[in-house]
């Protein structure tokens, strides 16, 4: 018994240690006021700039300096006579993390939109419509097993299916020469679509491919928790609704789904934390280490073509960014800031979502009691 208690507390101790270690190193990056040197309250650059190459050098007084490459270019222009020695460049380690933050947010939005529609639909079918026989039992088992598939496998599946599969169309004014299977032109007079092509070339390394891959990965969890939420609805609600002359769908829509929403919502917020943290599924399908601009300013074209361009453009993402700066960049005093800061901000984000889901659950429990 004592041993079990010790083991339990050891787990908690480890978690607390990890948390404080990240916070100790990361907090001064986000809020320099807590660092040894002191400084401003919030490092806004870190939250608003895109990641860049970090340039380290020694100025004429032999003092070590470091700045993002765009700042260094400005600096060189302003001081053309400055003597710069020992210049070193560290990729991805300068600037801020707004690119990965926005990319992760976009991925999560695409993923949850797809996962919720499919997941709720599947859960309603399995729980309300399907005959509860052997076959549905097997379908359920298969879905549960999907939850145990390694995420890298989902990544490879997504790469094969969403990125390369040539029957997936994109709307573009310039079809890819080597990848496009066929390009259907739209005449100029067609509203919204005029003047471009629907090109069957696959989605490539893109926001939509990554988001859908993540959706496939998180679906088993969403389906299972939606089913739990549906099962928790008292039988009386269904019976009352049907006895009043509701059709099955009316009953589900008005007397089941509204009361299952809190459960579905809690599950999906937890799904968000999981999706936001996944690296493997987006490595092949969506994420790139460096982008100069945010997705919406990078996308060109208008209307449908802008949207298509936006969705089929690659993005940066927090977990992939952390992997890049942690695994590919040597840790020096100059690069440590990006490494520690990214992890810290990401952890805050995950903690925010987790507590938000708990808050939602408490709120809904207060409101809906039966």
């Amino acid at each position: 018994m004592t041993l079990m208690a010790i083991l339990t507390y050891a787990v908690i101790a480890c978690a607390v240690f990890i948390f404080f270690d990240i916070a100790r190193k990361g907090l001064p990056v986000l809020m320099p006021v807590f660092s040894e040197k002191g400084g401003e309250v919030l490092n806004t650059d870190f939250l608003t700039r895109m990641p860049e190459t970090l340039v380290e050098f020694k100025d004429e007084n032999g003092e070590e300096q470091s700045m993002p490459s765009s700042d260094f270019i400005e600096f060189s222009k302003a001081n053309p006579d400055a003597v710069v020695t020992d210049k070193k460049a560290n990729a991805y380690s300068g600037g801020g993390i707004v690119g990965p933050l926005v990319g992760t947010a976009l991925l999560v939005i695409v993923c949850m939109a797809a996962a919720l529609v499919v997941g709720i639909g599947a859960a309603v079918y399995l729980n309300e419509y399907a005959n509860q026989g052997k076959f549905v039992g097997m379908v359920r088992l298969a879905i549960m097993n999907l939850a145990g598939v390694p995420s890298i496998v989902f990544g490879l599946f997504g790469f094969a299916f969403f990125c390369l599969f040539p029957l997936l169309p994109v709307f573009t004014t310039v079809p890819s020469e080597d990848r496009s299977l066929a390009a259907i032109p739209f005449a100029e007079w067609i509203p919204f679509f005029g003047g471009g092509y629907m090109s069957f070339e696959g989605w490539g390394n893109s926001l939509v491919a990554g988001g859908l891959t993540l959706a496939v990965m998180v679906l088993p969890v969403i389906i299972a928790s939606c089913e739990e939420a549906l099962k928790a609805i008292p039988k009386g609600f269904r019976e009352a609704s049907l006895a009043l002359g509701a059709t099955k769908w009316q009953c589900i829509r008005t007397a089941v789904l509204p009361y299952a929403t809190p459960g579905i919502l809690t599950a999906s917020v937890l799904g968000v934390t999981r999706v936001a943290g996944e690296t493997a599924p987006i490595m092949f399908t969506a994420a790139v280490a460096l982008k100069a601009k945010l997705s919406w300013s990078a996308a060109d074209g208008e209307g449908v073509y802008w949207l298509s361009n936006f969705l089929t453009d690659s993005v940066q993402a927090m977990p992939y960014h952390i992997y890049t700066v942690a695994a590919r960049i040597p840790r020096t005093d100059a690069t440590a800031a990006m490494q520690d800061g990214s992890v810290f901000v990401f952890m805050l984000l995950v903690m925010f979502f987790a507590s938000f889901s708990i808050y939602l659950r408490i709120q809904y429990r207060k409101k809906l009691k039966w």
């Binding site: 019976e239 049907l242 009043l244 509701a246 008005t254 809906l368």
Partner: protein, 295 residues
């Protein structure tokens, strides 16, 4: 045809006219030869004709060849020990048993207003609008009082606000709840007491203007005072609705019902005027049950 002197006490509506009606069978009535337990008096609303029912696709019957007629505008009580099939029979009458995939009426017909409710062309949705049901455990939706009563009309597509308002007020009045809730129609139905919630469920059911009200032990979760209110309400509602009530409480059956059917192990043992069943039952089993010797 069995004719039994009616208890005037339980027939505020039709009074002594029933005796004369009984002598001339109505068109809806089946003859004594095909139906061993015919309606003692009055026009049949629900004719149950040789009904057997199974929950497991016909392997075991939980109802065995039940035949009797439920008269229009009266309260009919179904009594019997637990598991005797009375609730099952009640749920056959609005086809709520359809929810169990393997359930099946294995023989016979249930006719409501002359229509076989299990016929192919009968839509259970339409049937349930005509045959309302009040459940054992009061089950208002966790919405406002107003929304609860308006629910049935709203799913039928009624959008007109004044029409809904009127129906809600009328239903709540008929369910003797209007005075208590008229100032807080928008507060949650779950803020009401248990008895009020059950009356709200009755209001919700009568809002869609059914012809028949099925009540499945409507008072079993309520205290004696709330029970008395519901019983008063049943007495008032029988003016407009044919009521079938399942109850475990034999005093309740004597208080509210005109006819009583006693079930045991899926069979109808005896069906007669309530006063006759409780004062002078013709089957010994019935007497043993109502005097508390088993069940």
């Amino acid at each position: 045809m069995v004719t039994t002197p009616l208890s005037e006490k339980n027939d505020p509506m039709t009074g002594s006219n029933n005796t004369s009606e009984a002598d001339s069978p109505k068109p809806g009535q089946t003859t004594a030869t095909s139906n061993p337990n015919p309606v003692p008096h009055g026009e049949a609303m629900i004719e149950i004709d040789d009904v057997s029912f199974s929950y497991d696709a016909g392997e075991t019957n939980v109802l065995q060849n039940i035949s009797f007629n439920i008269p229009k505008g009266k309260v009919t009580a179904l009594i019997g020990p637990s598991g005797c099939g009375k609730s099952t029979l009640l749920r056959c009458m609005n086809r709520m048993n359809d929810l169990v995939d393997t359930s099946k009426v294995t023989s016979g017909q249930i006719r409501i207003m002359g229509q076989d409710i299990n016929a192919h062309q009968v839509d259970p949705i339409e049937l349930r609008k005509k045959v309302g049901m009040v459940f054992q455990k009061y089950n208002p939706f966790p919405k406002s009082i107003y929304e609860n009563v308006a629910y049935g009309l709203k799913i039928q597509g009624v959008k007109n606000k004044s029409q809904l308002d009127e129906a809600v007020e009328k239903s709540l009045q008929r369910a003797a709840l209007w005075k208590e809730v008229k100032d807080r129609l928008n507060s949650s139905a779950l803020s009401l007491s248990g008895g009020q919630q059950q009356r709200l469920c009755i209001a919700r059911t009568i809002a869609v203007s059914p012809s028949v009200l099925l009540m499945d032990e409507p008072c079993s979760a309520l205290d004696p005072i709330a029970t008395a209110r519901i019983e008063e309400l049943i007495a008032e509602l029988q003016e407009e609705f044919t009521i079938v009530i399942v109850t475990h409480n034999m005093q309740q059956a004597t208080r509210v019902s005109d006819r009583t059917a006693f079930f045991y192990l899926g069979e109808l043992i005896e069906y007669d005027v309530t006063t006759k069943i409780f004062s002078n039952p013709s089957v010994p089993q019935t007497e043993e049950y109502i005097t508390g010797r088993f069940g």
